[in-house]
Structure formats: C-alpha cells, structure tokens
C-alpha cells in the first residue's frame, strides 16, 4: 500500500471513529432507557451481569405494570389535553398577531415583535413565585388547568416570532388581489392568508405541542397531586416509592413519552432553527 492511500485510510477511519463517538455519546442514554425497560428486575439489579444486553430473556412486565398499576395512561391523557388547549390558545392569539406585526404595523411592529419575543427569555424560575399566587387566586392550584393558563406565556412569544418571519417572506400580491376583487382586509386574511399558511400553522402546532411536553419547572411548581400531572412530571417524579426507584417502569415511561417528541423534532428541525435565528443569517 502506498503511503498516500495509507493516509487516506487513516483519515477515513478517524472520521468514522469520530462519527461513532458522537452517535454513542448522544444516543447511549436512550439505548439505556430501551434496554432497561425490557429487562427483568433480577437482570437489572445485579452487579455481575453484563449490563449492555439481556442476560435473562426480555420481559414486558414493566410496561404491564406501568399501564395497569400506575396513572401513566391518565398522565398521557393530561398531556394531550394540555397540549391541545395550549395549541388552540396559541393559534388564536399568535396567528393574527404575527400577521399584523409583519404586515400592518410597520417599524413599530418590528420593535413590538422583538419585545414580545424577548419575553420568551424571561425564565420560569423568576415567574413561578408570583404565578403560583395568581393561580391560587384563580382557584387553579394543583390542577392541570393551571398549566393550560401558563404555558401560552412561552408558546405565544415563540410562535408569534415564528409566524412573523413566515408572513414577511410571503408575497403580499395574493392578498392585494383579493382586496381588489372586493374582499375586506379581514376576509382576505381569513380566505387567502390562512389557507396559504398551512405549513406555518402545522409548524406552530407541532412546536406548541413539543414545548408543552418538554416543560418541567412550571408543572413541578403548580401540580402536586398525581392524577393531575402531565406525562413528563409523572414519569420523573411519581414512580418512586420512598427511596425505591422503579427503574424499569421509569425508563419504559420515559421511552414512550420521548418517541413522539423526538420524531416531531427531527421532522421540523430546520424550521425551528430558521425560526429562532430569524434574520441573523442573510
């Protein structure tokens, strides 16, 4: 082998070696979730067994326990209801706001948009104290409806910003044509703009849903009774009895809750990035 092709082989090997390193680094905890959730307890809690694969045959006992003996299904339902309600609230507020800020309010709209977006950066760890008082005053303490009220505080700024960018890139000629044909401004928004923004609306729905599923701090602060918890909070905090962690059940629950979010993220990643970086790249 000539020294030139040897360097080439070495380069290729180190390149794929680095790729493998990154894949293992990123995905190992999820492999760990997967294998833990299918292992028998005897296999899990043993220091002599090789932990990376099955020493006993795989089992479904953790999944059975999760669905039959815990509130897991209830948490799934709670998360679904919260996600749906927050999505509806977000669409009804962010869609007109994003459109108006992009089209009708000129330069002041631009700064107003940046102002709304900056509120996305105000952290839950500052707001949770006053918000828990507001929630108690509204009689929503310890209820999942408190999360329906609070989650739009970050989904509205995020989605308004996302939609603002989208509407700015949409040519205004189509709506103008509708107005020339006798539509009012409002009707041109309903009849022309909304049908043309289906991809953007879909992105908003997906992101609102995943943002609500990923949230942890507000849920931890406002909801303490098991039956009201969303799925992430329930899996992370409710499958522990005293000092005993039900690792098989926790990992099974984490796996089920992670899969839809992971898929949604991978499908909509590019839009997410162009959404948050906005005009920073020309």
């Amino acid at each position: 082998m000539s020294s030139r092709s040897l360097t080439k082989t070495l380069q290729e090997t180190s390149f794929y070696g680095a790729v493998v390193f990154f894949v293992v680094l990123a995905a190992f905890p999820f492999y760990w979730m997967l294998i833990t959730s299918f292992k028998t307890n005897a296999d899990l809690y043993s220091v002599s067994h090789i932990p990376f694969w099955f020493n006993d045959p795989p089992t479904l006992e953790h999944f059975k326990y999760l669905f039959e003996k815990t509130l897991f299904l209830r948490w799934m339902l709670n998360s679904l209801v919260i996600g749906l309600c927050v999505t509806v609230i977000t669409l009804f507020t962010a869609l007109p706001a994003g459109y108006s800020l992009a089209r009708w309010t000129g330069r002041s709209g631009e700064s107003l948009g940046i102002g709304i977006f900056l509120t996305y950066l105000v952290p839950p760890t500052i707001l949770f104290l006053p918000l828990s008082r507001i929630i108690a005053d509204l009689g929503l303490q310890n209820s999942m409806w408190s999360l329906v009220l609070v989650y739009p505080t970050f989904t509205i700024p995020f989605c308004t910003w996302l939609l603002m960018g989208f509407f700015k890139s949409m040519p205004p000629e189509i709506e103008e044509a509708a107005i020339v044909d006798g539509c009012s401004l409002f009707m041109s928004f309903i009849k022309m703009t909304i049908p043309l923004s289906v991809p953007a609306i879909l992105t908003v729905i997906i992101f609102t849903f995943t943002l609500t599923l990923q949230e942890f701090v507000y849920a931890l602060t406002f909801v303490s009774s098991s039956a009201q918890k969303p799925i992430t909070l329930g899996v992370a905090t409710d499958l522990i009895r005293g000092d005993i962690f039900y690792w098989g059940e926790i990992m099974a629950g984490a796996l089920i809750a992670s899969i839809p979010v992971a898929i949604a993220y991978n499908l909509f990643l590019d839009r997410f990035i162009s959404g948050i970086t906005g005009g920073a790249v020309k």
């Binding site: 990123a26 220091v47 009708w104 105000v122 500052i126 104290l129 599923l213 931890l220 990643l269 990035i273």
Partner: protein
C-alpha cells in the same frame, strides 16, 4: 350610475370601519397576544420584583415594604455565595463543553457520507427529548450501585469495585455530573446552530482562502467563525439564558446536594420560595439572575445589530 354604486356599497358598510382599516384591524389583531403576555409575564415580573423588597411569605402574605433587607440577608448567607458561584460554573462549564462538542460535531456532519441523515437524527436526540426524561435516564446511569459507567470502568480494569465513585454523592463529582449532563443536552443545539451558520458561508469565499494559502485552522477561525458570529450569538443567548436560569437538571439529579454543592439560583429560589414558602427571599434569590440575563441579552443584541450594518 350613482344609484347602482350606492346599493352596491351598502351591505358591508356596518363593519367597513373595522374590517378595512389597516391601523384599526392591525391593533385588534395584536391585542390578544399582547394582553396575554402583559398579564401573565409582565405583571408577574413586577410582582416578583416587589416580593423581593417585601416581607411576603405564604403564611403571612403582607406587602409590607422592607427595602433591600432580603438582599442583605441572602448575601450574608455563605450557602448563597456558593449557589451563585455554582450557577456560573454550571452555566459556563456546560456552555464551553457544549460548544466544543458542537463545533466538532458540526464539522463531521458537514461532510456528506452514507447514513448522514440517520446520524443527524440520533445526534439531535439529547436536545429533542424532554429534559426531565433524559435526565432521569442519566440518574439511572449514575446510580450508586448499578451505574453502567462504573461497571464499564471496572470491566476495563481502570478501577476496582471498592474505588467505584459515587457520582452524585461526592461534591466535585456531582458538580461535574450536572455540568456534563447539561452540556450533553445542549451540544446538539450547538451542532445545529454551527451547521446552519457554516452552510451559509459561500463556498467561493472558502475556496479563495484556500488558494491564498490558508490552512484548515486558519480557514476555520479567521474566515468561517467570524462570518457565522451573528448566528452563533443568537445560539449563545439561548444557551446561556436557559442554562443560567435552569433548575430541572439539578432538581432531578442531585436536589442541589450533596450539602449544597450543586445548588444553583433557580433551584435555590424554588427551595426557598416554593418549598419553604419564604416568597420574598425566594424572589430576591431569583432576581439575582436578572443582571446577568440583561447583560447577556443587551450585549448580544448590540453585537448582532453592529454586524448587520
């Protein structure tokens, strides 16, 4: 002619005022979003600021003004100084580690190779999956008895079972663990940001630099990095703000322990304000985040604007 025109305009006349004027309709369209944000972000923010200068607790909800008393109280508490230091260490440690991993990951993913899409999908996972669930998986990997990390170290002969570290139970190791988990969670985001920037650098600029004799490192750090700084700045704003104010990783992995070694501002605010019910001191602790957040956001915004001119 005049008659026809008049009958034609009649049906819409009642709402024409609202539906046809850009300024009026524009204001109506933004109002719900602005109201929501004002009532549930703006108002609570002002309340938090007032809590921090009041004597408010959940047992005695009084609005009595006590000036800067709460702030003097917490500054004199040595465990708070540790929390403050921990927060900086946690934030910058995990950001730097995440950025380094992100830059190298992006350089790998920039090159086309078979299976790149699948690799990208797998590498994105730590950032996509809800933080609480991923952190719980790490907690299990750091388990004091059944840690897979320790098992591997023992199997490789690097340590004996007696030497196996208790990752979350030793102060320095616990800090290292929360930093690593947070960097792990952040690096896919850094990869994506770097990729978005690097693909926007025109190839002819890179080619020109190569022809002029710029090597690999010079191309990277004198051409590509300066060109992608604006997008990098946006990514960093998000990274720093969300790490500096985060409490979920610490809450789930260590509960701030052992003995406050991993307590960060968000977690301390939660413990004092929510768990112990001392709302005013909790608010004062949380508000310590504000100066840092303001500096970061303003510095970055200015920086972006200056680059764009």
């Amino acid at each position: 002619m005049a008659v026809i025109a008049e009958t034609y305009s009649k049906p819409a006349s009642r709402f024409r005022f609202i539906f046809d004027r850009r300024d009026v309709l524009g204001a109506i369209f933004v109002t719900p979003a602005i109201l929501y944000v004002l009532l549930l972000v703006g108002l609570p923010f002002l309340m938090a600021a007032y809590y921090s200068v009041s004597a408010y607790t959940i047992y005695n909800p009084s609005w009595r003004f006590v000036g800067l008393q709460n702030f003097t109280d917490i500054i004199q508490d040595p465990s708070f100084i540790q929390t403050l230091w921990n927060t900086f260490l946690f934030t910058f440690g995990s950001q730097i580690l995440g950025l380094i991993l992100g830059k190298f990951g992006a350089m790998l993913l920039l090159r086309p190779f078979p299976g790149r899409k699948i690799v990208r999908a797998l590498v994105i996972l730590p950032w996509a999956v809800p933080v609480a669930l991923a952190t719980v998986a790490w907690e299990w990997m750091f388990d004091s008895l059944y840690s897979v990390i320790n098992w591997t170290l023992i199997a490789l002969g690097l340590i004996t079972r007696a030497q196996a570290p208790n990752w979350l139970g030793t102060p320095d190791l616990a800090m290292l663990s929360v930093i690593v988990v947070n960097a792990w969670r952040f690096f896919p985001f850094a990869i994506v940001i770097f990729l978005a920037g690097m693909t926007s650098v025109p190839q002819d600029v890179i080619d020109a630099a190569t022809v002029d004799g710029a090597g690999f490192w010079r191309r990277n750090y004198q051409i590509i990095v300066p060109m992608i700084l604006p997008i990098l700045a946006v990514g960093l704003i998000f990274g720093i703000v969300f790490t500096f104010t985060d409490m979920s990783v610490v809450y789930l992995l260590t509960q701030g322990g052992p003995v406050g070694a991993t307590s960060v501002l968000g977690f301390a605010g939660f413990q004092t304000g929510i768990v112990s019910g001392d709302v005013s001191h909790g608010a004062a602790i949380s508000l310590f985040m504000l100066p840092v957040l303001l500096v970061v956001v303003f510095a970055m915004l200015r920086f972006i604007r200056r680059r764009e001119i």
